[in-house]
Amino acid sequence: MEEATQAFVFFWVAGLFVVMGAMLAFFSKVNWQRRLGGALFGLGVLSLMLTPWTLSFSPSSAFGHLLGSLIGPAVLLAVGLYQIAFSGHVPVGRLSRTDRNIGVAMVVVGVLWLEAMHWWVLTPTYPAEVNRYWYIFWPTMLLGVLVCSSATYAIVGLVGEQRQQEQRLMLVSASLAIILMLLGSLFDGPNVDHERFATELLFASADIFGVMVGAAVAVLLFAVVLAFYESQQPVPKRLDPPNQDQLEKASHIIAQHVGGEGEDE
């Protein structure tokens, strides 16, 4: 198979599988279609993660390498947070105290693992230098944690009552993100120097802002298209007003139910 065809099949078709699979799994109301969506999503992600082997000649395979590098901490964080949440005050299927402790340990290891990817030797390296998508991912995630935490802090203050504990937690995670960004911009890691990190942080903010503006414009256009289409539709037929017979029948039925006779209140 030619290299271009290989890249098309193992990377771009796989990427399309991920998008289409996620859409089917989320939006379809038919059970088999949802299962098919899940399978397509899994197959696509697997194919992307295998690109360091299937498309070793292509620079795009660095993305697959990043996905593979992140699967460990992502699973630890997701399962750990699930264990902690469902060992709390849930009415059904409550997990045990041991599960909660395991969950806490998994979250701590997941966070440390991510930190070790910047501050220790676990930095994703592909093929012989730091994975270029890691430079995009890590600052984006830190900025994302800061933005989401501070926004959630405000939301909890606006809609919650006596939620100081949650606000404190959001403050802690926002502060942690700020500290990590400042430390990364001031001190070199074993594989990432501080100037490169600071520049990538600025680029990550440009990426996030650009993505948000682009998405907002697309959504606005979508709303305009739908509003225009709906405004072109004929007005639904209005029913005639009820005639005397229908009014009498309705008043009879109403009188039967609201008369107060024969009912013990």
């Binding site: 998008v19 859409m23 795009s60 993305f63 990043l66 996905l67 992140l70 992502a74 964080l77 947070l81 699930y82 902690i84 949440a85 709390g88 849930v90 998508y133 995009i136 991912f137 890590w138 984006t140 995630m141 900025l143 994302g144 944690v145 800061l146 933005v147 989401c148 935490s149 501070s150 959630t152 939301i155 909890v156 203050g157 009552e161 006596q162 949650e166 959001m170 700020i178 400042l182 911009s185 600071a198 520049t199 942080l201 600025l202 903010s205 440009a206 990426d207 996030i208 802002f209 650009g210 993505v211 948000m212 682009g214 697309a218 959504v219 256009l221 979508f222 298209v225 739908l226 289409y229």
Partner: protein, 153 residues
């Protein structure tokens, strides 16, 4: 629940979301960044790629919308035009020499690189949302249920 008009609540929310990140970026910019070259190019590329990609996703969601609307063609055509507009603008601007090109040799390579960068940004934001939402949810579920305090008659 806190009292206040929706506009002031929205302003407060926006300020909380943007100001801390803005302050950190300014601080980092003052301390460690020597040159901001390329930031606008990154912004423009992210904007065009995101517009095209989100239009494509919304085009797909119209199939769900069609279930409740006798499968209309007009909105599909509208969003298809939107996707074409995004692709057309991307190709046009990338073809203007150095305007939006980075370290890639061709328009196609730059467009594909933009798409992978968008995926990486989405991945980073997704992980951030997972961590924050998971932490909040875990905290909410572990808060002891509160007894309702009735006033004494």
């Amino acid at each position: 629940m806190s009292e206040g008009s929706p506009l002031s609540s929205l302003t407060r929310l926006g300020a909380f979301a943007v100001l801390p990140a803005g302050a950190v970026l300014i601080l980092v910019g003052l301390v460690s960044i020597e040159s901001t070259d390329g930031t606008l190019i990154r912004f423009a590329n992210a904007l065009l790629t995101s517009f095209t990609f989100v239009s494509f996703i919304l085009l797909l969601t119209l199939f769900v919308y069609g279930d409740a609307r006798k499968r209309p063609i007009a909105p599909l055509l509208g969003m298809f035009m939107s996707v074409l507009l995004g692709v057309g603008m991307t190709v046009f601007f990338l073809s203007q020499g150095e305007l939006l090109m980075e370290d890639n040799g061709s328009v196609r390579a730059q467009a594909l690189s933009n798409l992978i960068r968008l995926a990486t940004t989405v991945l980073g934001m997704g992980m951030a949302v997972m961590v924050v939402a998971g932490t909040l949810f875990a905290s909410l579920m572990n808060t002891p249920p509160r007894a309702i305090q009735f006033e004494e008659e």
